[in-house]
């Protein structure tokens, strides 16, 4: 069965007996006929939802059904950044709640996800950008969140290797959130799965949903490749494929699926200490504990379910990288990946009920869902358990597009590929 708790003591004990005693991190559960709640999608959001349903609401008769292996979506393919440096009041408290949950995550779930608050630095290159970041930093401070506006000299001390002297768009300064940072992404899925499993949640892998059973306007279960599962409540947490799954219940969503690529370099000795985002191109970068530079940029910009992107985006990202810090030029990219993003119509997520009773929606994460993982699960669990939005997610409603109470950080409107 293995250990209920991981600790240095269990590790020592196992090291003396050839590690024969470790049990599965989570049971490989088979679907049972009925649950109180079934979550569709064994990614970070689905697993954290299940965990918080069990740990915060005492609902343990829960299954998470996953088409492939858990963590096979965006929680396993992202640039691992966490932060709460948002602009709009509809987003800030939500992402700050998430950051606070990250800060206590490891003790909570007894799994070292390597939450590393190394700082997130957003660079600006014009006066207008500086003012926009000041607006953002001030908004964060009003919410009690740390934010510092750095001038060029302060940025130069942090990033001595950035191009300060020959840049097309010179660095004027940056907005720093010291509490932001990175997390070992896969471990988040595994840690939540293990913690949920310990509380009785069934984590069911290789179980694809083929239909949502709706009776009298109410969702009552799922058809899957491993049989029918009845459920009092069904939660969808399958970003990237939200439209496809919601369509099974006859819903159309304000979402397009897009592909985002990201990149990892060969391991090098420590070079970049914090997360840096370039303000004059689409580029963000950090360095992992293993030494790889982890970086990305914009989405490819067209609807896609292909899980892969194209070359011009790779070039665009690397151009941003070289413009920002030409010291990385001879470091080699060794892996890339492409994942599916739920690009919503205002660039912000949706955690809400649906017109179908008993069917709940968690989607529209665009390419910022990883950092939201704990709060997304927390708020979704609350919504499912209490049938009311958790306060920090109250703005992330599905009907906001109809009412015009949009949460559009970039201000580009109803064109998902521009968010």
């Amino acid at each position: 069965m293995g250990y209920d708790r991981y600790s240095v003591f269990s590790l020592l004990r196992e090291s003396l007996r050839g590690h024969a005693g470790w049990g599965p991190a989570w049971r490989d559960a088979a679907p049972r006929p009925a649950y109180d709640v079934v979550i569709v999608g064994g990614g970070g959001h689905g697993l954290s939802t299940a965990y918080y349903l069990a740990s915060q609401h005492g609902i343990t008769n829960v299954a998470v059904v996953e088409r492939g292996y858990i963590g096979s979506g965006n929680v396993g393919r992202n640039t691992t950044i966490i932060r709460s440096n948002y602009l709009l009041p509809g987003n800030i408290p939500f992402y700050e709640h998430s950051l606070k949950l990250w800060e206590g995550l490891e003790q909570d779930i007894n799994y070292n996800a390597m939450v590393s608050q190394r700082g997130v630095l957003n660079l600006f290159h014009t006066d207008a950008q500086r003012d926009a970041y000041a607006r953002r930093g001030n908004a964060m401070r009003l919410h009690g969140i740390d934010a510092e506006l750095l001038d060029r000299a302060a940025v130069r001390r942090m990033l001595p290797y950035a191009d300060f002297d020959n840049a097309r768009f010179p660095i004027h300064g940056g907005l720093l959130q010291r509490r932001g940072g990175t997390v070992r992404h896969d471990a988040v899925a595994w840690g939540y799965a293990r913690a949920a499993d310990r509380r009785g949640v069934d984590v069911i892998q290789h179980c694809e949903v083929t239909g949502i059973t709706v009776e009298n306007g109410r969702a009552v279960g799922l058809q899957t490749t491993r049989g029918t599962i009845r459920a009092k409540k069904v939660g969808l947490a399958c970003a990237g494929n939200s439209s496809r799954v919601a369509a099974m219940a006859g819903l159309r969503l304000p979402i397009e699926s897009h592909v985002l690529q990201a990149f990892v370099s060969e391991g090098i000795k420590p070079l970049i200490d914090c997360v840096v985002t370039y303000g004059a191109g689409h580029f963000y970068i950090s360095q992992s504990d293993k030494g790889g530079l982890v970086f990305g940029g914009d989405i490819d910009g067209y609807n896609s379910y292909a899980w892969r992107g194209n070359l011009p985006t790779v070039e665009d990202v690397c151009e941003g990288g070289m413009a920002l810090m030409p010291i990385i030029g001879r470091v080699r990219i060794t892996r890339s990946w492409g994942g599916l993003m739920d690009m919503s119509m205002d660039g912000s997520p949706i955690i809400d009920r649906t017109p179908i009773e008993g069917l709940y929606l968690n989607c529209g994460w665009c390419y910022g869902g990883f950092k939201a993982t704990p709060a997304s699960g927390w708020c979704f669990a609350h919504l499912i358990a209490q049938d009311a939005p958790y306060p920090v997610a109250a703005a992330l409603r599905l009907d906001r597009f109809a009412t015009g109470r949009l949460v559009d950080e970039k201000g580009v409107g109803a064109q998902p590929n521009l968010h």
């Binding site: 439209s243 496809r244 369509a247 159309r252 969503l253 397009e256 067209y302 609807n303």
Partner: protein, 94 residues
């Protein structure tokens, strides 16, 4: 990914700007259209996995909007026509 522009020939997609699904039909100009129809047009998308008719603008070429038929699962581009031709056809259709 390469798009066969009817005016410029086959070009890399980076020459084009993407708009999205060509499916939604805009309510008639000047019509008395309900808010829900507008909401549907502006915000809701089928977002299919498979063939998709979509609008691309040849920004670095002939500056024409095209309706491109492309498979979102495979990225295979089946064809491209001037959007104006498609729109005129659609408006002529009953």
């Amino acid at each position: 990914m390469r798009i066969p522009c009817p005016h410029c020939g086959e070009r890399g997609f980076q020459e084009f700007a993407y708009y999205g699904d060509a499916g939604p039909k805009r309510p008639a100009h000047g019509g008395d259209t309900g808010e829900d129809v507008w909401f549907d047009y502006v915000y809701l998308r089928d977002n299919p996995a498979g063939p998709h008719e979509e609008l691309w603008y040849h920004a670095a070429g002939c500056r024409t909007w095209l309706v491109v038929t492309r498979n979102t699962l495979t990225h295979e581009v089946a064809g491209a026509r001037p959007a104006r031709d498609v729109a005129l056809e659609r408006s002529a259709a009953p």
